[in-house]
């Protein structure tokens, strides 16, 4: 497979994953605010921080409001990671490699793209925010289902997995970090209703709420949330799960070469950290510092993976 094509598949997967996270973040926040009158001055502000796009946001909007944040996340042309732009990037990346993907996948992506090209703020107003995101999520699940069910487990599939498994932990880390760092409640509020509501929202944003109930029961605590999103080996949106999958995928790619090189890729340290760690230790040592460290390791890994398999020069 051409290195350029490999890069396109990889980035298509990343944009697909990214668009989904954006969608869930906005949706969960919106629903959270429907139920309970906000205590904070501006409950939409953390979302902008999660995606580390405050600077761009500030150049486009003078204040943080529900309408402007949703606009920024969903439609904004200038925001490369707006859902609309992610969908376009997904399609642009897949377009030249239709021969590598199933026609069902292309049709589903193209349909979503055509729909998104007609989006405007009125679309949201007309259909309702929740219905809009529910519909969007269905599109994404359809696309993912088609990938899983129509693509042979070959290099193309591995590259899509690679992109997904590198993009996902990044989103998990940001989500956790923002809750922990910026939404830090006053000491007396820890474990209180507002705090719990926020942690529940974090779980929902990662589609982890039901899985959490199943794995850890009803009591939501910081430790358990960190446990399921960082160290749980069975939950597909945990960092541990992602790095285990990533290691398998890299091994599978390497198995196809004459001189396997995946051994030189620095995923072993990440694997070690996530296998050995626990929520308790991590929080004691500072969750923020831990997440910053993990993000840096992921950034390095992503760069090396790209250079190794996809860069043209």
């Amino acid at each position: 497979m051409l290195r350029r094509i490999a890069g396109s598949l990889f980035w298509a997967a990343r944009y697909l994953e990214r668009a989904q996270w954006r969608g869930r973040l906005v949706d969960v926040n919106y629903r959270l605010l429907l139920e309970v009158p906000p205590r904070e001055a501006e409950p939409w502000e953390p979302l902008v921080r999660i995606t580390a796009e405050q600077e761009l946001y500030a150049t486009l909007h003078s204040q943080v409001s529900e309408a402007s944040v949703i606009d920024f996340f969903v439609f904004e042309k200038e925001n490369r990671s707006s859902i609309k732009n992610c969908i376009e990037a997904l399609r642009t990346n897949l377009s030249p490699l239709r021969h590598l993907i199933s026609s069902e996948l292309w049709l589903a992506v193209n349909r979503l793209y055509l729909e998104s090209s007609r989006w405007s703020a009125q679309t949201l107003a007309a259909n309702g925010v929740s219905a809009f995101f529910a519909d969007l999520q269905r599109h994404f699940y359809t696309i993912e289902g088609i990938i899983v069910n129509t693509m042979p487990r070959d290099l193309a599939y591995d590259l899509i997995e690679l992109g997904t498994m590198l993009e996902r932990p990044d989103n998990v880390a940001r989500l956790l970090d923002v809750k922990y760092h910026y939404l830090l409640p006053r000491l007396e509020d820890i474990g209180g209703p507002a705090d719990l509501r926020q942690w529940a929202a974090v779980l929902r944003s990662a589609s982890a709420f039901e899985a959490f109930r199943k794995l850890y029961g009803h009591a939501i605590t910081v430790n358990r949330v960190v446990e399921i999103l960082v160290f749980d080996p069975t939950f597909p949106r945990s960092m541990r799960f992602c790095i285990e999958r990533l290691a398998q995928v890299l091994a599978s790619i390497a198995a196809r070469e004459e001189e396997p090189a995946a051994e030189t890729l620095p995923y072993a340290d990440l694997l070690g950290v996530l296998r050995a760690g626990s929520a308790e230790q991590t929080i004691a040592g500072g969750l923020h510092e831990f997440l910053i460290g993990i993000e840096a390791m992921y950034a390095r890994l992503a760069e090396q993976v790209f250079d190794h398999y996809m860069a043209l020069e």
Binding site: L2, R3, R4, H99, L107, L114, L312
Partner: protein, 494 residues
């Protein structure tokens, strides 16, 4: 003396009046359905009028869902457009097609022989059949092509030959496209749409399939691999996403199961061509290129080109890869050389041309020029080096200002223009969308036909080709870049 030498007399406008009337492809002069079209017409007329009107809209939606689009140069607004499609099919009876097929193969073989000849001995020039300066002075002449040999002597692997049907009902060649002709993907997609729109009709008429084109093309490309390679690697070279025919490049590579490469995917090492893959460099034996000569190799052609790959010409010269079409084939579709194509067929094949060409006058000849300039509003003037309908002036519909400008251009560089008498392109019933009451209206629009001929170990011809239709009333320009659309072309089984 070019026109005379090519055996062409200037037209007598008065005598030709009757032949200048375009024919209708489906109805004769008395308004009766032509026999081969009777069933289609009966079927369409029996349709619920609103259903007929909907055909176009349904086709449009299918194209959009399938992402069948093309890009238009210089159009920043909508980067991707759907090639307008007209669902009224164009019918070609078996015996007419049989004659065309032989004529097309004959023509492709002669053009190929010409390319092989001009970049080596140039015998046709020495024998005085074609003037040397016309060849050497052409913008399409590529000196670096000299010394590159193609396996089997095939230089033109893919030819798209534009045919038009005149007032006498005969098909004529309007121009040849033997560089990187495009449009074949629409032929196949159009058929896929039509089999969903009118399945019963296609089956009842026994329409010949077009599905096998990619397999034919791949077979030809494989047959042209450098000697001794039993399982050659073929790749398709595209200029990339922003090219107007990018969809087609994706389509063909997908259908053939070969890699779609860009210049940046390629590298030449030790006079061999490779593509950069996830697992290292992989050798390419046959490159089906869809970019112009000028951009192929910055070492030999335009040094600022990022679309090609440095060293490709040296690889070809060393015989380590085959390029299809070969470098320099454009000399055979130069619009000045076109006037000599009948002579070429006689010269190389010793045969009479089976398909006549549209009369073509070289304006470099002072007498011819004077005569054409006198009646400029009766001619179509074309720049010899351009393609895609760019720079064409159509006398009868041009403004005085445009004619004056054309005159100026011709006088400044006469060798760069040819003139053809305005040719009465046949018209074809075409769906004009809905009229006021929601019913369908059929209108007559001019059409041409671009069949595709493949040369490899043996020649192969796609049944039919791309029927292009000028959707604007009265317009003679069918190019997609100039507001044209297309129709499905149905060649009937015996």
């Amino acid at each position: 003396m070019d026109a005379q030498r090519a055996g062409i007399a200037l037209p007598d406008w008065r005598a030709q009046a009757a032949e200048l009337q375009p024919i209708n492809e489906m109805f004769d002069a008395q308004g009766r359905a032509r026999p081969e079209c009777a069933r289609v017409i009966a079927y369409l007329l029996a349709m619920e009028p609103t259903r007929l009107a909907e055909l176009g809209e349904r086709a449009q939606r299918m194209f959009q869902t399938m992402g069948v689009t093309f890009n238009v140069y210089g159009d920043h607004d909508g980067e991707e457009r759907i090639f307008p499609f007209d669902p009224i099919p164009r019918i070609i009876p078996a015996e007419v097609w049989a004659g065309l097929e032989s004529g097309l193969i004959q023509r492709a073989r002669a053009l190929n022989a010409f390319v092989a000849d001009v970049y080596r001995e140039g015998q046709i020039i020495k024998d005085g059949v074609i003037p040397r300066d016309l060849v050497i002075g052409s913008q399409q002449f590529r000196p670096p092509a000299a010394g590159i040999r193609s396996p089997g002597g095939v230089y033109i692997t893919v030819a798209g030959i534009d045919l038009v049907r005149g007032g006498d009902g005969r098909f004529h060649v309007l121009e040849d496209n033997v560089r990187t002709p495009s449009g074949v993907s629409y032929v196949i997609e159009n058929r896929r749409i039509m089999t969903r729109l009118l399945p019963e009709l296609i089956r009842a008429l026994r329409v010949r399939s077009v599905e096998s084109y990619p397999a034919y093309l791949l077979a030809c490309l494989r047959e042209l691999a450098p000697g001794g390679i039993s399982n050659p690697t073929v790749a398709l070279l595209t200029p990339g996403l922003f090219n107007s025919a990018f969809f087609e490049h994706v389509f063909l590579s997908q259908q053939m199961g070969v890699e779609l490469v860009e210049g940046r995917d390629l590298v030449c090492v030790d006079h061999k061509l490779f593509m950069k893959t996830v697992h290292g460099l992989q050798r390419i034996d046959v490159l089906y290129r869809r970019i112009d000569d000028d951009f192929l190799d910055p070492v030999v052609f335009r040094s600022d080109s990022l679309l090609g790959v440095a060293g490709l010409t040296a690889v070809l010269r060393a015989g380590n890869a085959t390029l299809a079409n070969a470098i320099g084939t454009g000399i055979a579709d130069d619009k000045g050389v076109f006037a000599y194509t009948p002579a070429m067929i006689r010269y190389y094949l010793g045969e009479e041309p089976l398909i006549p060409i549209v009369d073509t006058y070289l304006l470099r000849d002072p007498e011819v020029r004077a005569s054409v300039l006198r009646d400029l509003d009766r001619y179509v003037v074309k720049p010899t080096g351009a393609s895609g309908g760019y720079g064409v002036v159509i006398g009868p519909s041009a403004s005085d200002e445009e004619l004056a400008q054309a005159r100026q251009h011709i006088e400044a560089a006469p060798a760069e223009f040819i003139a053809q008498p305005v040719f009465p392109l046949s018209v074809h019933p075409t769906l004009a969308g809905r009229v006021a009451d929601g019913q369908a209206a059929l209108v007559a629009r001019h059409v041409d036909l671009r069949p595709f001929v493949l040369l490899g170990g043996r020649p192969r011809v796609l049944a039919g080709g791309l029927t292009r239709v000028a959707l604007r009333e009265g317009s003679l320009i069918v190019n997609s870049s100039q507001g044209g659309g297309s129709k499905d072309t149905w060649v009937l089984e015996e």
